[in-house]
């Protein structure tokens, strides 16, 4: 059974993420109010298969057009309010990703994009990958998807900016309610495979 919760326990398989200053949450809420109608996004590619980059690109094209919400993709972390991390952090890309994090002015919102960004996706336990953005930087919003559709990207930005509230909630199923029903009970026996 593949039920191993944490894969390899030894410390050397983990990286230690950047630690947040204490009052940063208060600063972030203040920031959110300011950038509600004009958010500058900077894309940090930590070694994904670049399907996520193309979908972010597609989100800015005429059909989905993020600029109508004031969301603009800028070309330097200096101007950025939101850092958009894609890709499961590969070893070679860890140093540049941390440099980008320090270059952006505080307070900043960090969004982790795509299955690789959220939790390492299909490469989560590989030798050359640290697996997920939250291994190196504190993340505020997760946008799952492989790759997330441009509509999901826009929804993610809306949740990040606090325009929409998130729909997905963690769920605890109660399976003991009743027995599992058999399927196709009314089919006569001999033709049922």
């Amino acid at each position: 059974m593949k039920g191993i919760k944490q894969l390899v326990g030894t410390a050397h398989t983990q990286t230690v993420p950047v630690v947040l200053p204490p009052n940063s949450q208060k600063l972030k809420d203040a920031l959110l109010k300011e950038i509600r109608r004009s958010a500058y996004v900077y894309r940090v590619d930590c070694g994904g298969c670049n399907a996520c980059e193309i979908e972010i690109f597609a989100a800015t094209t005429p059909i989905f057009d993020t600029e109508r919400f004031g969301i603009k993709i800028v070309a330097s972390p200096r101007h950025a309010d939101i850092l958009l991390y894609t890709g499961s952090v590969t070893r070679a890309m860890r140093a540049p990703a941390l440099r980008a994090y320090e270059a952006a002015p505080d307070p900043k919102i960090v969004i982790s994009y795509g299955a690789c960004g959220c939790d390492g996706g299909i490469f989560h336990d590989l030798y050359c990958v640290w697996g997920g953005t939250d291994k190196i930087v504190p993340v505020d919003v997760y946008i799952p998807g492989c790759p997330p559709t441009p509509a999901a990207t826009i929804y993610g930005f809306a949740v990040a900016l606090g325009l929409l509230d998130q729909k997905l909630k963690s769920k605890q199923h109660q399976p003991e309610a009743q027995k599992a029903q058999l399927k196709h009970t009314n089919i006569p026996l001999d033709i049922k495979v």
């Binding site: 989905f64 299955a115 949740v159 998130q166 599992a180």
Partner: protein
């Protein structure tokens, strides 16, 4: 240049109204997998088929429970789990609006209880899996006598069954097949 302005002019603005109007997605779009806990037998087929380890099953003998977990963060929305599930318990919905602010919301859990062996009282199979097998046997027309004997046999764990077969020779069930083949 004027040809461009003409093309641009008669295409007008093509932007969708998405956040303000629901987004129309093709009907078999692969969105978030949804578990129907009643149907689920905790058999673990989906966890074996998942390429990204997003579905995880953990059996805990001491507590006699088996915990199923779906991590929407790691899920790659490929739909393999839906294909291999014997009772169609897990299905992919069309839900793509999955952005969350705290990571715990990306995880779903379900706890199933294990059935104890009638002889050695140690849990050896998921309760619902056992019941489902017995229902299938009953539904597939096994006569009542044989069914009760089958039930007794199925409710003992494999270790006890091996012990039983070794000890009382008259109850060895394989004789039945030999008779029929003549």
């Amino acid at each position: 240049m004027f040809k461009l302005i003409k093309t641009v002019f008669n295409t007008g603005s093509v932007t969708t109204k998405y956040p303000f109007a629901p987004m129309s997605v093709s009907e078999d779009f692969r969105g978030k997998p949804e578990l129907d806990a009643a149907q689920c037998l905790s058999c673990g087929a989906c966890t074996r088929a998942c390429p990204a380890n997003a579905l995880i099953m953990e059996t805990d003998e001491k507590a006699g429970t088996r915990r199923w977990e779906l991590s929407t963060a790691r899920c790659i929305f490929c739909g393999r789990c839906e294909e291999v599930c014997p009772t169609h318990a897990i299905k992919l919905t069309q839900n793509f609006e999955l952005a969350v602010t705290n990571k715990a919301d990306l995880y779903e859990h379900a706890v199933f209880s294990l059935a104890d062996c009638s002889q050695c009282q140690r849990p050896f199979v998921a309760q619902k899996l056992l019941e489902y097998v017995l229902d299938t046997l009953a539904q597939s027309g096994v006569p009542a006598a044989q069914l009760s004997e089958r039930r007794k046999q199925l409710q003992t764990c494999p270790a006890c069954r091996r012990a039983n077969n070794m000890l009382d020779s008259d109850n060895i069930s394989h004789l039945r097949f030999i008779k029929e083949q003549q």
